[in-house]
Protein backbone atom coordinates (compact mmCIF):
# COMPACT_ATOMS: atom_id res chain seq x y z
CA UNK A 1 0.00 0.00 0.00
CA UNK A 2 1.31 3.41 -0.87
CA UNK A 3 1.72 5.90 1.90
CA UNK A 4 1.35 9.65 2.01
CA UNK A 5 4.67 11.39 1.78
CA UNK A 6 4.18 14.02 4.43
CA UNK A 7 7.90 14.82 4.42
CA UNK A 8 7.49 16.42 1.02
CA UNK A 9 4.69 18.75 2.05
CA UNK A 10 5.51 19.37 5.65
CA UNK A 11 7.99 18.44 8.31
CA UNK A 12 5.36 17.40 10.80
CA UNK A 13 3.27 14.27 10.75
CA UNK A 14 1.50 13.97 14.07
CA UNK A 15 0.91 10.57 15.55
CA UNK A 16 -0.12 9.12 18.85
CA UNK A 17 0.52 5.86 20.63
CA UNK A 18 -1.57 4.44 23.45
CA UNK A 19 -0.02 1.76 25.60
CA UNK A 20 -2.80 -0.68 26.46
CA UNK A 21 -0.65 -2.35 29.12
CA UNK A 22 -0.35 0.92 30.99
CA UNK A 23 -3.97 2.03 30.67
CA UNK A 24 -5.97 1.21 33.78
CA UNK A 25 -9.20 2.79 32.63
CA UNK A 26 -9.27 5.61 35.17
CA UNK A 27 -10.95 8.00 32.76
CA UNK A 28 -8.81 11.05 33.52
CA UNK A 29 -8.22 11.55 29.80
CA UNK A 30 -11.96 11.66 29.17
CA UNK A 31 -12.41 14.44 31.71
CA UNK A 32 -9.38 16.34 30.46
CA UNK A 33 -10.66 16.19 26.90
CA UNK A 34 -14.08 17.40 27.98
CA UNK A 35 -12.59 20.38 29.79
CA UNK A 36 -10.02 21.30 27.15
CA UNK A 37 -12.30 21.21 24.14
CA UNK A 38 -15.50 22.79 25.51
CA UNK A 39 -17.44 19.62 24.88
CA UNK A 40 -21.10 19.96 25.74
CA UNK A 41 -22.85 17.67 28.19
CA UNK A 42 -26.21 16.36 27.09
CA UNK A 43 -27.82 14.94 30.22
CA UNK A 44 -29.20 11.51 31.02
CA UNK A 45 -32.13 11.50 28.64
CA UNK A 46 -30.11 12.36 25.56
CA UNK A 47 -27.31 10.01 26.56
CA UNK A 48 -29.83 7.17 26.60
CA UNK A 49 -30.68 8.03 23.02
CA UNK A 50 -27.01 7.66 22.14
CA UNK A 51 -26.36 11.36 21.75
CA UNK A 52 -23.58 11.76 24.29
CA UNK A 53 -20.51 13.57 23.09
CA UNK A 54 -17.22 12.29 24.34
CA UNK A 55 -14.47 12.90 21.84
CA UNK A 56 -12.46 10.38 23.81
CA UNK A 57 -14.14 7.45 25.46
CA UNK A 58 -12.90 4.38 27.33
CA UNK A 59 -14.15 1.15 25.86
CA UNK A 60 -14.47 -1.69 28.32
CA UNK A 61 -14.12 -5.35 27.46
CA UNK A 62 -14.95 -7.95 30.09
CA UNK A 63 -13.73 -11.49 29.68
CA UNK A 64 -14.68 -14.57 31.67
CA UNK A 65 -17.20 -15.07 34.42
CA UNK A 66 -16.98 -14.32 38.11
CA UNK A 67 -14.64 -14.92 39.92
CA UNK A 68 -12.20 -15.22 36.99
CA UNK A 69 -12.90 -11.91 35.36
CA UNK A 70 -10.51 -9.89 33.26
CA UNK A 71 -11.33 -6.33 32.29
CA UNK A 72 -9.52 -4.64 29.46
CA UNK A 73 -9.67 -0.98 28.53
CA UNK A 74 -9.21 0.77 25.24
CA UNK A 75 -9.25 4.56 24.95
CA UNK A 76 -10.97 5.38 21.69
CA UNK A 77 -10.84 8.70 19.91
CA UNK A 78 -10.67 9.89 16.31
CA UNK A 79 -7.99 7.74 14.70
CA UNK A 80 -6.97 10.44 12.19
CA UNK A 81 -6.87 7.92 9.36
CA UNK A 82 -4.68 8.54 6.33
CA UNK A 83 -7.40 6.94 4.22
CA UNK A 84 -10.36 8.23 6.17
CA UNK A 85 -13.78 6.86 5.22
CA UNK A 86 -15.43 9.98 6.62
CA UNK A 87 -13.72 12.31 4.17
CA UNK A 88 -14.95 10.79 0.94
CA UNK A 89 -18.63 11.05 1.89
CA UNK A 90 -18.76 14.70 3.00
CA UNK A 91 -20.70 16.65 0.38
CA UNK A 92 -19.22 20.02 1.36
CA UNK A 93 -15.56 19.11 2.05
CA UNK A 94 -15.96 19.98 5.71
CA UNK A 95 -13.60 17.14 6.54
CA UNK A 96 -10.30 16.47 4.83
CA UNK A 97 -6.71 15.39 5.43
CA UNK A 98 -4.41 18.26 6.28
CA UNK A 99 -0.69 18.38 5.38
CA UNK A 100 0.27 17.31 8.89
CA UNK A 101 -1.64 14.07 8.72
CA UNK A 102 -4.59 15.15 10.79
CA UNK A 103 -8.18 14.61 9.87
CA UNK A 104 -9.74 18.06 9.89
CA UNK A 105 -13.32 18.91 10.76
CA UNK A 106 -14.28 22.44 9.75
CA UNK A 107 -17.23 23.42 11.91
CA UNK A 108 -18.31 26.46 9.97
CA UNK A 109 -18.37 24.51 6.73
CA UNK A 110 -20.32 21.54 8.08
CA UNK A 111 -24.00 21.34 7.17
CA UNK A 112 -24.81 18.32 9.33
CA UNK A 113 -25.66 15.54 6.91
CA UNK A 114 -24.07 13.06 9.35
CA UNK A 115 -22.76 10.91 6.48
CA UNK A 116 -19.29 11.01 8.04
CA UNK A 117 -20.52 9.74 11.39
CA UNK A 118 -22.30 6.95 9.60
CA UNK A 119 -19.23 5.97 7.62
CA UNK A 120 -16.74 6.05 10.49
CA UNK A 121 -15.78 2.48 11.46
CA UNK A 122 -14.69 3.66 14.91
CA UNK A 123 -17.88 5.66 15.72
CA UNK A 124 -15.93 8.62 17.01
CA UNK A 125 -17.78 11.46 15.34
CA UNK A 126 -20.42 13.20 17.39
CA UNK A 127 -23.36 15.22 16.25
CA UNK A 128 -24.66 18.30 18.06
CA UNK A 129 -28.37 17.72 18.51
CA UNK A 130 -28.68 20.90 20.57
CA UNK A 131 -26.79 24.12 21.10
CA UNK A 132 -24.22 23.84 23.85
CA UNK A 133 -25.56 25.43 27.01
CA UNK A 134 -22.76 26.58 29.26
CA UNK A 135 -24.51 28.72 31.81
CA UNK A 136 -23.43 30.46 34.98
CA UNK A 137 -20.07 29.42 36.39
CA UNK A 138 -19.65 26.76 33.68
CA UNK A 139 -18.94 29.44 31.10
CA UNK A 140 -15.96 30.66 33.16
CA UNK A 141 -14.01 27.48 32.53
CA UNK A 142 -14.43 27.47 28.75
CA UNK A 143 -11.26 27.33 26.70
CA UNK A 144 -11.02 30.56 24.67
CA UNK A 145 -8.93 28.89 21.96
CA UNK A 146 -11.67 26.45 21.02
CA UNK A 147 -14.88 27.61 19.40
CA UNK A 148 -18.26 26.56 20.76
CA UNK A 149 -20.08 24.30 18.35
CA UNK A 150 -23.59 25.09 17.28
CA UNK A 151 -26.57 22.85 16.84
CA UNK A 152 -26.55 20.70 13.72
CA UNK A 153 -22.86 20.10 13.08
CA UNK A 154 -20.44 17.24 13.55
CA UNK A 155 -17.47 17.39 15.88
CA UNK A 156 -14.64 15.10 16.87
CA UNK A 157 -11.15 14.86 18.35
CA UNK A 158 -8.78 17.46 16.90
CA UNK A 159 -5.63 16.10 18.59
CA UNK A 160 -5.83 19.39 20.51
CA UNK A 161 -5.11 21.51 17.45
CA UNK A 162 -5.04 24.66 19.58
CA UNK A 163 -2.08 23.23 21.51
CA UNK A 164 -0.26 22.20 18.33
CA UNK A 165 -0.78 25.69 16.95
CA UNK A 166 0.52 27.28 20.13
CA UNK A 167 3.53 24.97 20.20
CA UNK A 168 4.40 25.81 16.62
CA UNK A 169 3.88 29.51 17.36
CA UNK A 170 6.39 29.41 20.24
CA UNK A 171 8.86 27.41 18.16
CA UNK A 172 8.61 29.88 15.30
CA UNK A 173 9.34 32.79 17.63
CA UNK A 174 12.52 31.06 18.71
CA UNK A 175 13.42 30.10 15.14
CA UNK A 176 13.46 26.33 15.60
CA UNK A 177 11.32 23.28 14.96
CA UNK A 178 8.93 21.90 17.52
CA UNK A 179 10.84 19.67 19.91
CA UNK A 180 9.74 16.20 20.90
CA UNK A 181 7.39 16.26 23.89
CA UNK A 182 6.84 20.00 23.65
CA UNK A 183 3.27 19.59 22.46
CA UNK A 184 0.97 17.42 24.52
CA UNK A 185 -2.73 16.95 23.96
CA UNK A 186 -4.87 17.25 27.09
CA UNK A 187 -5.33 13.46 27.34
CA UNK A 188 -1.59 12.76 27.19
CA UNK A 189 -0.85 15.47 29.71
CA UNK A 190 -3.38 14.10 32.18
CA UNK A 191 -2.70 10.37 31.87
CA UNK A 192 -1.33 9.28 35.28
CA UNK A 193 0.44 6.23 33.87
CA UNK A 194 1.86 7.99 30.79
CA UNK A 195 0.08 5.56 28.51
CA UNK A 196 -0.48 8.20 25.82
CA UNK A 197 2.44 9.54 23.81
CA UNK A 198 2.11 12.20 21.15
CA UNK A 199 4.70 13.41 18.72
CA UNK A 200 6.04 13.90 15.24
CA UNK A 201 6.53 10.53 13.58
CA UNK A 202 8.64 12.09 10.81
CA UNK A 203 11.25 12.87 13.46
CA UNK A 204 13.11 9.58 13.76
CA UNK A 205 14.43 10.42 17.20
CA UNK A 206 11.03 11.09 18.72
CA UNK A 207 9.53 8.96 21.44
CA UNK A 208 6.49 8.14 19.34
CA UNK A 209 8.66 6.88 16.47
CA UNK A 210 10.54 4.63 18.84
CA UNK A 211 7.33 3.19 20.29
CA UNK A 212 5.73 2.61 16.91
CA UNK A 213 8.76 0.63 15.78
CA UNK A 214 9.02 -1.36 19.01
CA UNK A 215 7.18 -4.32 17.52
CA UNK A 216 4.21 -3.95 19.85
CA UNK A 217 2.24 -1.64 17.61
CA UNK A 218 -1.23 -2.53 16.38
CA UNK A 219 -3.78 -0.47 14.49
CA UNK A 220 -7.47 -0.86 15.00
CA UNK A 221 -9.42 -2.43 12.12
CA UNK A 222 -6.30 -2.68 10.05
CA UNK A 223 -8.17 -4.83 7.54
CA UNK A 224 -10.33 -1.82 6.68
CA UNK A 225 -7.27 -0.13 5.24
CA UNK A 226 -7.86 3.16 7.01
CA UNK A 227 -4.22 3.48 8.12
CA UNK A 228 -4.82 5.41 11.37
CA UNK A 229 -2.37 7.86 12.95
CA UNK A 230 -3.41 6.70 16.40
CA UNK A 231 -1.66 3.46 17.19
CA UNK A 232 -2.01 1.09 20.10
CA UNK A 233 0.75 -0.84 21.84
CA UNK A 234 -0.14 -4.28 23.05
CA UNK A 235 1.96 -6.28 25.45
CA UNK A 236 3.92 -9.37 24.63
CA UNK A 237 2.75 -11.11 27.78
CA UNK A 238 -0.83 -10.08 28.26
CA UNK A 239 -3.17 -10.91 25.39
CA UNK A 240 -4.67 -7.50 24.95
CA UNK A 241 -7.80 -7.29 22.81
Amino acid sequence: MKSFNYKKQNDYKWAMTIDLDRCNGCGACVVACQAENNIATVGEKQAELGRKMHWLRIERYIEGTYPDVKVRFLPMMCQHCDYAPCESVCPVWATYQNPEGLNVQVYNRCIGTRFCGNNCPYSVRYFNWYDSNFEGPESNQLNPDVSLREKGIMEKCTMCMQRIRRGKDTAKDEGRDVEDGEIQPACAQTCPTNAITFGNINDHESKVHELVHSGRMIRLFEDKGTHPSVMYLKGGVADVI
Partner: protein, 176 residues
Protein backbone atom coordinates in the same frame (compact mmCIF):
# COMPACT_ATOMS: atom_id res chain seq x y z
CA UNK B 1 -58.46 43.28 -5.12
CA UNK B 2 -54.84 43.44 -4.19
CA UNK B 3 -52.41 44.79 -6.74
CA UNK B 4 -49.65 42.39 -5.67
CA UNK B 5 -49.43 39.24 -7.79
CA UNK B 6 -49.14 35.81 -6.08
CA UNK B 7 -45.47 35.70 -7.08
CA UNK B 8 -44.98 39.14 -5.59
CA UNK B 9 -46.63 37.98 -2.36
CA UNK B 10 -44.32 34.99 -2.21
CA UNK B 11 -41.29 37.20 -2.73
CA UNK B 12 -42.53 39.59 -0.06
CA UNK B 13 -43.01 36.75 2.42
CA UNK B 14 -39.54 35.44 1.62
CA UNK B 15 -37.99 38.84 2.15
CA UNK B 16 -39.81 39.24 5.47
CA UNK B 17 -38.58 35.85 6.66
CA UNK B 18 -35.06 36.68 5.48
CA UNK B 19 -35.17 39.99 7.33
CA UNK B 20 -36.42 38.33 10.52
CA UNK B 21 -33.75 35.69 10.18
CA UNK B 22 -31.11 38.36 9.75
CA UNK B 23 -32.25 40.03 12.96
CA UNK B 24 -32.07 36.90 15.11
CA UNK B 25 -29.55 34.12 15.72
CA UNK B 26 -27.46 33.65 12.62
CA UNK B 27 -28.06 37.23 11.54
CA UNK B 28 -26.70 38.85 14.67
CA UNK B 29 -23.52 36.82 14.29
CA UNK B 30 -22.84 37.51 10.65
CA UNK B 31 -24.81 40.58 9.61
CA UNK B 32 -24.92 42.53 12.88
CA UNK B 33 -23.66 46.13 12.90
CA UNK B 34 -20.26 45.11 14.26
CA UNK B 35 -19.57 43.13 11.09
CA UNK B 36 -20.54 45.90 8.67
CA UNK B 37 -18.04 48.25 7.11
CA UNK B 38 -20.17 51.17 8.25
CA UNK B 39 -19.61 50.26 11.89
CA UNK B 40 -18.52 53.50 13.56
CA UNK B 41 -19.47 53.53 17.26
CA UNK B 42 -19.43 56.61 19.48
CA UNK B 43 -16.65 56.17 22.00
CA UNK B 44 -16.81 57.33 25.66
CA UNK B 45 -13.92 59.72 24.98
CA UNK B 46 -13.60 61.44 21.60
CA UNK B 47 -10.14 60.03 21.01
CA UNK B 48 -8.62 60.98 17.68
CA UNK B 49 -6.26 58.54 15.97
CA UNK B 50 -5.62 61.24 13.37
CA UNK B 51 -4.16 63.56 16.01
CA UNK B 52 -2.10 60.92 17.84
CA UNK B 53 -0.95 58.51 15.14
CA UNK B 54 -1.21 60.89 12.16
CA UNK B 55 -0.17 64.37 13.17
CA UNK B 56 1.99 63.54 16.18
CA UNK B 57 3.33 60.32 14.63
CA UNK B 58 3.13 58.15 17.75
CA UNK B 59 3.89 54.56 16.65
CA UNK B 60 0.90 52.17 16.86
CA UNK B 61 2.75 49.83 19.16
CA UNK B 62 3.60 52.50 21.69
CA UNK B 63 0.03 52.14 22.94
CA UNK B 64 -0.98 48.74 21.51
CA UNK B 65 2.05 47.00 23.01
CA UNK B 66 0.54 43.53 23.09
CA UNK B 67 0.23 43.32 19.32
CA UNK B 68 3.80 42.05 18.98
CA UNK B 69 3.61 39.84 22.06
CA UNK B 70 0.24 38.06 21.97
CA UNK B 71 -2.85 37.26 19.95
CA UNK B 72 -4.62 40.41 21.09
CA UNK B 73 -3.42 43.87 20.15
CA UNK B 74 -4.78 45.18 23.43
CA UNK B 75 -6.12 48.54 24.49
CA UNK B 76 -3.69 50.66 26.52
CA UNK B 77 -4.34 51.11 30.21
CA UNK B 78 -5.47 54.49 31.54
CA UNK B 79 -2.06 54.83 33.18
CA UNK B 80 -0.46 54.73 29.74
CA UNK B 81 -2.63 57.64 28.59
CA UNK B 82 -1.70 59.51 31.75
CA UNK B 83 2.01 59.16 30.96
CA UNK B 84 1.53 62.11 28.64
CA UNK B 85 -1.81 63.60 29.64
CA UNK B 86 -0.86 64.31 33.21
CA UNK B 87 0.76 67.42 31.74
CA UNK B 88 -0.09 67.59 28.03
CA UNK B 89 -3.40 69.28 27.32
CA UNK B 90 -4.61 68.52 30.81
CA UNK B 91 -7.17 71.31 30.75
CA UNK B 92 -8.94 70.15 27.58
CA UNK B 93 -12.44 68.71 28.19
CA UNK B 94 -11.66 65.24 26.73
CA UNK B 95 -8.45 64.99 28.74
CA UNK B 96 -10.40 65.88 31.86
CA UNK B 97 -12.80 63.00 31.15
CA UNK B 98 -9.73 60.79 31.04
CA UNK B 99 -8.55 62.29 34.30
CA UNK B 100 -11.88 61.42 35.93
CA UNK B 101 -11.56 57.80 34.86
CA UNK B 102 -8.02 57.74 36.21
CA UNK B 103 -8.89 59.33 39.56
CA UNK B 104 -11.88 57.02 40.11
CA UNK B 105 -9.87 53.91 39.17
CA UNK B 106 -12.33 53.03 36.42
CA UNK B 107 -11.45 51.50 33.09
CA UNK B 108 -12.61 53.33 29.98
CA UNK B 109 -15.36 51.34 28.29
CA UNK B 110 -14.22 51.58 24.68
CA UNK B 111 -16.63 50.23 22.09
CA UNK B 112 -15.15 47.47 19.97
CA UNK B 113 -14.75 48.34 16.29
CA UNK B 114 -12.83 45.40 14.84
CA UNK B 115 -14.14 42.00 15.75
CA UNK B 116 -14.04 38.57 14.16
CA UNK B 117 -16.63 35.81 14.53
CA UNK B 118 -15.96 33.35 17.35
CA UNK B 119 -15.01 30.51 15.03
CA UNK B 120 -12.01 32.44 13.74
CA UNK B 121 -8.71 32.40 15.58
CA UNK B 122 -6.42 35.30 14.74
CA UNK B 123 -2.94 35.94 16.07
CA UNK B 124 -1.60 39.51 15.99
CA UNK B 125 1.90 38.47 17.03
CA UNK B 126 2.47 36.21 14.01
CA UNK B 127 1.44 38.93 11.57
CA UNK B 128 3.38 41.76 13.22
CA UNK B 129 6.56 39.69 13.40
CA UNK B 130 6.20 38.79 9.75
CA UNK B 131 6.14 42.52 9.01
CA UNK B 132 2.52 43.00 7.98
CA UNK B 133 1.59 46.65 8.37
CA UNK B 134 -1.30 47.46 10.71
CA UNK B 135 -2.93 49.48 7.93
CA UNK B 136 -3.08 46.40 5.69
CA UNK B 137 -6.10 45.18 7.67
CA UNK B 138 -7.20 48.12 9.76
CA UNK B 139 -7.20 50.67 6.96
CA UNK B 140 -5.83 54.24 7.09
CA UNK B 141 -6.16 54.53 10.88
CA UNK B 142 -3.80 57.52 11.03
CA UNK B 143 -6.29 59.61 9.01
CA UNK B 144 -9.40 58.64 10.99
CA UNK B 145 -10.89 61.14 13.38
CA UNK B 146 -13.33 58.46 14.56
CA UNK B 147 -12.26 54.89 13.90
CA UNK B 148 -14.55 52.85 11.65
CA UNK B 149 -14.42 49.33 10.29
CA UNK B 150 -12.73 49.84 6.94
CA UNK B 151 -12.70 46.22 5.70
CA UNK B 152 -15.35 43.55 5.74
CA UNK B 153 -12.93 40.92 7.17
CA UNK B 154 -14.63 38.13 5.27
CA UNK B 155 -12.67 34.96 4.69
CA UNK B 156 -11.73 36.00 1.16
CA UNK B 157 -10.00 39.08 2.55
CA UNK B 158 -7.75 36.92 4.77
CA UNK B 159 -7.24 34.20 2.19
CA UNK B 160 -6.20 36.43 -0.73
CA UNK B 161 -3.34 37.84 1.34
CA UNK B 162 -2.39 34.38 2.64
CA UNK B 163 -2.19 33.02 -0.89
CA UNK B 164 -0.12 35.96 -2.15
CA UNK B 165 2.44 35.56 0.61
CA UNK B 166 2.58 31.78 0.80
CA UNK B 167 1.10 31.70 4.28
CA UNK B 168 -0.67 28.50 5.37
CA UNK B 169 -4.15 28.06 3.90
CA UNK B 170 -5.09 24.96 5.84
CA UNK B 171 -8.52 25.41 7.45
CA UNK B 172 -7.23 24.56 10.91
CA UNK B 173 -4.77 27.46 10.75
CA UNK B 174 -7.63 29.75 11.73
CA UNK B 175 -10.67 27.58 12.46
CA UNK B 176 -10.98 25.10 15.30
Amino acid sequence: MSSISPIGKGALAFLTIAALGALSGFGVNYFGPIYLTTHKPVQPIAYSHKLHAGDNKIPCQYCHTFARRSEMAGVPSTQKCMNCHEFLGANKPEAQKLNDYYDNDKPIEWKRVFDLPDHVWFNHKRHIRKGVKCQKCHGPIETMEVVYRSNDFKMGFCLSCHQENGAPTDCWTCHT
